[in-house]
């Protein structure tokens, strides 16, 4: 839930990267951090296990400039993807304004994407939010693996699996090489901002 602060002239927006384990959520944030470190004044916070898997979440604040005189602060989070960490996933999802769903396009993990999307639907429901209403962008990650001969699902197949009902923007990407990582982030900000902008206008007018 975005917070508009008329005193500090600041808007804080929460974007969560969701998706199955080992899908590339943390790698998305790491790539953004490496490209925009001049705009990110702090270290990226990562709560990881010894095996380098996300245990709780990653967090990174990101300034994107101002709208109507208000500085927009985007807070990027990831969730742990592994099925067993659902309780912590739900904690991180609280108050979310926009979601990037990072799906793994590797053929062998097709089922995991669908289960994770279903899990997102259920967790949003527990906060009385609908997956059909929350700003959402899909990213089909690991496209770079095709070069190594690893079988991938086609964009059309992924669309049928994940996006047949949602009909939200979707992009093939490679978090490792950075292909479409920034584009995905820009898209989710673009989808999330209009509702906040409308509220800001009301705030500025009042």
């Amino acid at each position: 839930m975005a917070f508009i602060n008329p005193k500090t002239k600041e808007v804080q927006i929460k974007i969560v990267y969701y998706g199955p384990g080992r899908g590339g959520k943390t790698t998305n944030l790491e790539y953004i951090y490496s490209k925009y470190d001049h705009r990110i004044k702090t270290e990226m916070v990562s709560l990881k296990t010894h095996g380098d898997r996300t245990l709780f979440f990653d967090f990174m604040p990101f300034d994107i400039g101002s709208v109507l005189g208000y500085a927009i602060k985007i807070q990027l989070y990831t969730v742990p993807g592994q099925v067993k960490y659902n309780a912590t996933r739900r904690v991180v999802l609280r108050g979310v304004d926009g979601i990037v769903f990072v799906a793994d396009a590797t053929k062998s993990v097709r089922e995991k994407n669908i289960l994770s999307l279903k899990n997102l639907y259920e967790n949003l429901k527990s906060y009385n939010k609908s997956i059909f209403k929350v700003p959402l962008v899909l990213q089909y990650n690991k496209m770079d693996l095709a070069e190594q001969g690893i079988p991938l699902l086609s964009f059309d197949r992924m669309q049928k699996d994940m996006n047949a009902q949602l009909k939200v923007p979707a992009f093939p990407a490679s978090a490792l090489t950075g292909t479409n990582v920034i584009h995905t982030m820009k898209q989710i900000i673009k989808l999330t901002l209009p509702s906040v902008q409308q509220n800001l206008k009301e705030e500025v007018m009042s």
């Binding site: 839930m1 975005a2 917070f3 508009i4 602060n5 008329p6 005193k7 808007v11 804080q12 929460k14 702090t42 270290e43 916070v45 709780f56 979440f57 967090f59 604040p61 602060k73 807070q75 989070y77 309780a87 912590t88 739900r90 904690v91 991180v92 609280r94 108050g95 979310v96 304004d97 509702s195 906040v196 409308q198 509220n199 009301e202 705030e203």
Partner: protein, 134 residues
């Protein structure tokens, strides 16, 4: 969905935190929401913390501890406190949506802090009643 507070509400909260907690020796106070957004932040000017990361971690930590309480059949734990060598941190729920985080040194006793925080929260609750939701 977004929400906002009026300028004068935020001023009143800042004044309250300054007077009730910072002037009593507390190093830094954050009023945050459960999503990890910072509503108010006052410190004694002596040390600068990375408050955005702190708020994100505090909200996550509080959410995790609440979930643990429910697993063992408690509504919530009444005392959430971490003790360090020089600095300590205390969390207190203001309402379902808001959380007060106080960082304080060893010159302030935990009992005194809890008393002051409880008083402060009563007033904050009244001030937050009129948060405008869109």
């Amino acid at each position: 969905m977004s929400y906002t507070l009026e300028h004068k509400q935020l001023e009143a909260i800042d004044d309250l935190l300054q007077h009730d907690l910072i002037d009593m020796g507390v190093t830094c106070v954050l009023l945050i929401d459960m999503a990890g957004n910072i509503i108010a932040n006052i410190d004694n000017g002596k040390r600068k913390h990375d408050i955005y990361s702190l708020a994100a971690l505090a909200a996550g930590n509080f959410g995790a501890v609440s979930a643990m309480a429910k697993i063992i059949g408690e509504d919530e734990f009444s005392l959430l406190f971490h003790k360090g060598k020089k600095e300590n941190i205390h969390f207190s729920r203001v309402s379902d949506e808001f959380l007060l985080v106080s960082i304080f040194g060893n010159q302030v006793s935990l009992g005194f802090l809890r008393l002051k925080v409880a008083e402060t929260i009563k007033t904050i609750k009244d001030l937050l009643k009129t948060a405008k939701k869109f």
